[in-house]
């Protein structure tokens, strides 16, 4: 178990992440088609000023929105591998290569430690652009290490979920990451440290059925798809149309599975409030050698 192959070649571990949003001039809203400039949308937290649609963003953007400037990436040296030689229409190895090309030095989750209005916080943010944000061994291991890091330094943890579920190409290993992350969050809980779970569009499958639903605070961005089974699977099973607004953030709030919904512009303030209210104290210093 856990044979780690050490590679000679280096990996990009610069402490700050590049943004994932394109650099072009114009930005078109996927919700209403409204066109605005990229500069404008980035200044508005990637939320459409006309309809409030929350554009999908990556870990780099979230770190920029939530942290006070500087932050340090953690565990960026963990890389997925095709240990089962899994091949469907494409081999998993090739899928990983393609994902690495698209997102050099990245994974389906990125972890960083930084400060929110001077108070330390660890964020693990999923990246949907990396194989659908699917949970494989690396996602599980990074969350596991993030939990250990929080316990060691007495820090609160925020996980930003955005995932299609488990990574099938890692078969039972991906399934067991549900157990691994949940068991580690139980340790965080035993240590009396708060876990904030933010669900964003989409949060489904094994991610929802493990760490995403285990927050001391469960919250979501507006109109995100959140569920266990995908809408298509449910529709095929029950052979009926699904009700309007089914499996949205608002639906989950209404059914008692979310504490609240947060507009992205209020995200930093909300997280700050939570840290303050939970009274998490830490003498953690943000230095590169941590």
């Amino acid at each position: 178990m856990g044979w780690f192959k050490r590679l000679k070649k280096g990996v990009q571990t610069s402490s700050n992440l590049k943004k994932d949003t394109p650099d072009g001039l114009w930005f078109k809203c996927k919700g209403c088609g409204h066109t605005t400039t990229n500069k404008d949308i980035s200044e508005h937290f990637y939320v459409c000023p006309k309809c409030g649609f929350h554009e999908r963003i990556g870990p780099g953007e979230y770190f920029k929105i939530i942290f006070d400037g500087k932050y340090i990436r953690l565990f960026a040296n963990l890389k997925s591998k095709d240990f089962l030689n899994f091949t469907d229409l494409k081999s998993y190895g090739d899928r990983l290569k393609a994902a690495d090309k698209k997102k050099p030095g990245r994974e389906a989750i990125e972890v960083a430690v930084g400060k929110v209005k001077q108070k330390p916080l660890v964020i693990a943010a999923m990246d949907f652009a990396y194989i659908g944000g699917s949970m494989g061994s690396v996602v599980g291991e990074k969350i596991s290490r993030a939990v250990d890091y929080c316990i060691e330094n007495r820090l609160p943890l925020l996980i930003i979920s955005k995932s299609g579920g488990a990574r099938m190409m890692e078969s039972a290993f991906s399934l067991m990451q549900m157990a691994k992350t949940s068991i580690q969050l139980a340790q965080l809980s035993n240590a009396g440290l708060p876990f904030f779970s933010l669900m964003t569009n989409p949060t489904t499958g094994g991610v929802t059925a493990s760490f995403a639903m285990l927050g001391d605070i469960n919250f979501a961005e507006p109109k995100a798809l959140i569920g266990f089974a995908g809408p298509r699977v449910i529709k095929e099973t029950i052979k009926k149309d699904l009700p309007e607004g089914f499996q949205t953030s608002e639906f989950l709030l209404d059914h008692g599975f979310l504490d609240f919904i947060t507009h992205r512009k209020d995200l930093k303030d909300t997280i700050n409030d939570l840290i303050v209210l939970f009274n998490t104290k830490s003498d953690f210093k943000l230095t590169e050698d941590k």
């Binding site: 890389k79 899994f86 469907d88 039972a172 549900m178 691994k180």
Partner: protein, 319 residues
């Protein structure tokens, strides 16, 4: 008798055997030598077929309509059993059953998915696909076990948690997640056995164990081969290929270190001799209980955390 596709060579031999037995019983001719010869042939052929099963054939065996289910094992393993119903919130899920039982001198809590044995009962049991209420009932019983220091035995046999509107409304994801979290901290031993289908989060929802075992003709995977085929190959037709690619057999799972042991089944599968299967399973459980009862609770929980924390394959790149 129901013969699966790969068992077809046996079907002919069994037909011949039945004819010989009939002739023998009519008393005109003594066929005992011929019967014996044919029985040996069947045995040899069976061994040949069953020592070489593909992943997909295992999946088919795990779903055999005559395969024993949780209720059967409980009946044959315990000397006393009281079934307990309901999650105390909303419902009594029929797809997960559980209760207090006695195995030898040891009181235990047993929880498992239950499939139906005929068309009517299959519907009643929702094909072994639990709703959130089932997972919450299971957790209630496990908490009961913790309170009274009783070991928990879970019997896993599900094609998955139920994907329905009500299941989502009542928090299928939350129910499964909560079980994973609570089972991590449960201060009593947990032994988990995959007795049939071990599909996805629906199986794992009662599947965290200090030790996890699989019966010989079962499977454990993140997704069923059919659904995997549909998603990755975009057609149902690659289920056999998907079953191979997923490496879902007990032998693979043992090799990966994801389970501790494989429980042997009678030749041809558990349904060929359910009583014998129950006896083997009981002996396995009794032995495991004896061993695990020796471990103090703090060590038990420490080991449980380590067991799951170590699961994962990846590269650690150095600068």
């Amino acid at each position: 008798m129901v013969f699966l596709e790969f068992e077809k060579p046996l079907e002919k031999l069994h037909e011949q055997l039945e004819k010989l037995i009939q002739i023998n019983e009519e008393g005109e001719l003594d066929m005992s030598d011929k019967i014996k010869e044919l029985e040996n042939k069947i045995n040899k052929k069976s061994k040949e077929i069953f020592s070489n099963l593909s992943g997909w054939e295992r999946v088919q065996l795990s779903r055999h309509p005559q395969r024993p289910y949780t209720e059967f094992y409980i009946e044959h393993i315990t000397t006393k059993f009281v079934e307990l119903h309901g999650d105390r919130y909303f419902n009594d899920d029929k797809a997960i059953i559980g209760g207090l039982g006695k195995i030898g001198t040891q009181s235990v809590v047993i929880v498992g998915q239950q499939k139906g044995t005929n068309t009517k009962m299959r519907q009643y049991r929702n094909f072994g696909m639990a709703n959130p209420d089932g997972y919450r009932k299971a957790l209630r019983l496990m908490k009961l076990a913790e309170k009274f220091k009783l070991p928990v035995i879970t019997l896993i046999d599900t094609p998955g948690a139920y994907p329905g509107i009500e299941a989502e409304e009542r928090g299928q994801a939350e129910a499964i997640a909560r079980n994973l979290f609570e089972m991590a901290n449960l201060r009593t031993p947990i032994l988990a056995y995959v007795i049939g289908e071990g599909a996805s989060g629906g199986a794992l929802g009662i599947g965290i164990g200090d030790k996890v075992f699989m019966l010989e003709n079962t499977w454990y995977s993140v997704i069923s081969p059919e659904n995997c085929s549909t998603i990755l190959w975009r057609t149902w037709d690659y289920k056999e290929t998907a079953a191979e690619a997923l490496k879902l057999t007990p032998e693979h799972m043992l090799e990966f270190g994801l389970i501790e042991d494989i429980v042997k089944e009678p030749l041809g599968g558990a349904h060929k001799d359910p009583e014998k299967m129950a006896k083997t399973l009981k002996a396995h459980i009794v032995k495991q209980l004896k061993e695990i009862n020796e471990i103090d609770t703090d060590t038990l929980l420490k080991n449980r955390i380590e067991r799951y924390k170590n699961i994962g394959e990846f590269e650690e790149v150095t600068e």
